[in-house]
């Protein structure tokens, strides 16, 4: 099985706070990993390190063999856009674009033309159950709907690796099940998903768990 993520003594310190503290783990292609742990334990920081949004202050992390922190800013942005889909804890949609246009953003930034992207963006909205909201602006969408637009956007460039921060936090349990089923099927198709979650029912969709406590990452022994 090939390696999707390899973290070696990966650390990130903010002042006195060890947000991530010497984490060592590997994630194989096709894994669906849940990252669990109390608030403030470093879960979002870990995703940001993997996605190259935050430089490590110690150790390193590779995604598909590439150490993002060694690339220059432009290469890093391009790598991320092509290979990684990120779903943030706060969905950060662009307020002036409607739902399908927001979904199209990663492809637009890669040089695509908006009119060529409408069909594929709308198709992705359908996968997250939002086909009838394609023309709504973020301000006209509920929190859970915005979250699903952000999920569709993360899938736009067909990334190998999806990093999701509480992707079902704003969803009711049935819609949440649909989204988790979608992430699960992406893994079965050979994508890799790392998902932060507080909800045990969500973590149970994953094939593995990483637990975080005060920045330290452990993998519970199988029972």
């Amino acid at each position: 099985m090939s390696i999707s993520i390899r973290a070696i003594d990966l650390s990130c310190q903010f002042g006195q706070v060890h947000a991530v503290d010497r984490a060592n783990f590997t994630v194989s292609v096709g894994d669906f990993v849940a990252v669990e742990g109390p608030s403030g334990s470093g879960k979002s920081t870990l995703l940001n390190l993997i996605g190259g949004l935050e430089p490590p202050t110690g150790g390193r992390v590779e995604v598909a063999g590439t150490e993002l922190s060694t690339l220059d800013e432009r290469e890093r942005t391009t790598f991320r856009r092509r290979h990684i889909g990120m779903i943030f804890q706060l969905y950060d949609l662009l307020p002036t674009l409607n739902a399908w246009q927001n979904v199209a953003v990663p492809a637009l930034l890669d040089g695509g033309k908006l009119k060529d992207l409408q069909a594929s963006s709308t198709e992705l909205l359908k996968r997250v159950g939002l086909q009838d909201r394609a023309d709504h602006k973020p301000s006209e969408l509920s929190g859970g709907e915005q979250q699903r637009v952000a999920i569709a956007r993360a899938l736009m460039n067909d990334p190998q690796l999806i990093l999701a921060d509480e992707p079902t936090g704003a969803l009711d349990s049935v819609t949440g099940d649909d989204i988790l089923g979608l992430l699960q099927s992406l893994c079965e198709d050979g994508r890799t998903v790392v998902m932060v979650t507080h909800a045990a029912r969500a973590a149970a969709y994953a094939t593995r768990s990483l637990r975080m406590l005060d920045g330290a990452v452990t993998e519970p022994a199988a029972v």
């Binding site: 699960q184 045990a200 973590a203 149970a204 994953a206 519970p220 029972v223």
Partner: protein
């Protein structure tokens, strides 16, 4: 205060309760009962007969040993101490997770309490229990994924929501352990 109510204190638990109360200092049946009643006013009371019969069985099995007999008659003349194999039996029990489906809430709570009461860390048990619950939740989730009917899905969901509630309690208690410890100091 302990406001937990629990149905049954099983045979196994009676043994472990007595071992954990004996851990650290020898005691008489009467004192063990008094300490138990004080510590766990909301759990099912232990009867004297149950305590004495369990003690003599533990003695026979080498988990406790008779250290003194005072004058008078009746079973309470006997003072018992825990043996090395008693300590190791207790420790094995304290750290072993419960079977998920039969884990009655009282048993989860009892193990945490007895670990703290005997001055041990309850975290390894909570972690092991968490892992076991999560493994079971993964099984049921994959069963749900392969379900043929909506009925089967909601039946799986019933189990999943209940296991999730246990797990939330396990996480919550893990977070509160250091505060809880203080209350159990004796």
């Amino acid at each position: 205060m302990l406001v937990y109510r629990c149905g049954i204190v099983g045979l196994m638990s009676t043994q472990q309760i007595l071992l954990s109360l004996l851990d650290g200092h020898p005691s008489y049946g009467y004192d063990l009962k008094r300490e138990y009643d004080e510590r766990f006013p909301n759990l099912k009371p232990l009867r004297f007969s149950q305590i004495y019969s369990t003690l003599s069985r533990l003695d026979r099995d080498g988990l406790v040993t008779l250290v003194g007999e005072s004058g008078g008659n009746g079973p309470d003349r006997k003072q018992y101490a825990i043996t090395e194999s008693g300590v190791s039996d207790l420790e094995t029990w304290l750290s072993a997770p419960l079977p998920v489906d039969e884990a009655p809430k009282g048993e989860l709570f009892l193990k945490v309490s007895l670990a703290l009461l005997s001055g041990r860390d309850a975290q390894p048990f909570l972690e092991a229990q968490r892992a076991r619950h999560m493994a079971r939740m993964r099984e049921v989730t994959s069963q749900k994924r392969n379900a043929d009917s909506e009925t089967e899905i909601v039946v799986c969901d019933f189990t999943l929501f209940h296991l999730e509630a246990d797990l939330s309690w396990i996480d919550h208690t893990t977070e509160r352990l250091s505060r809880l410890k203080v209350e159990f100091k004796r």
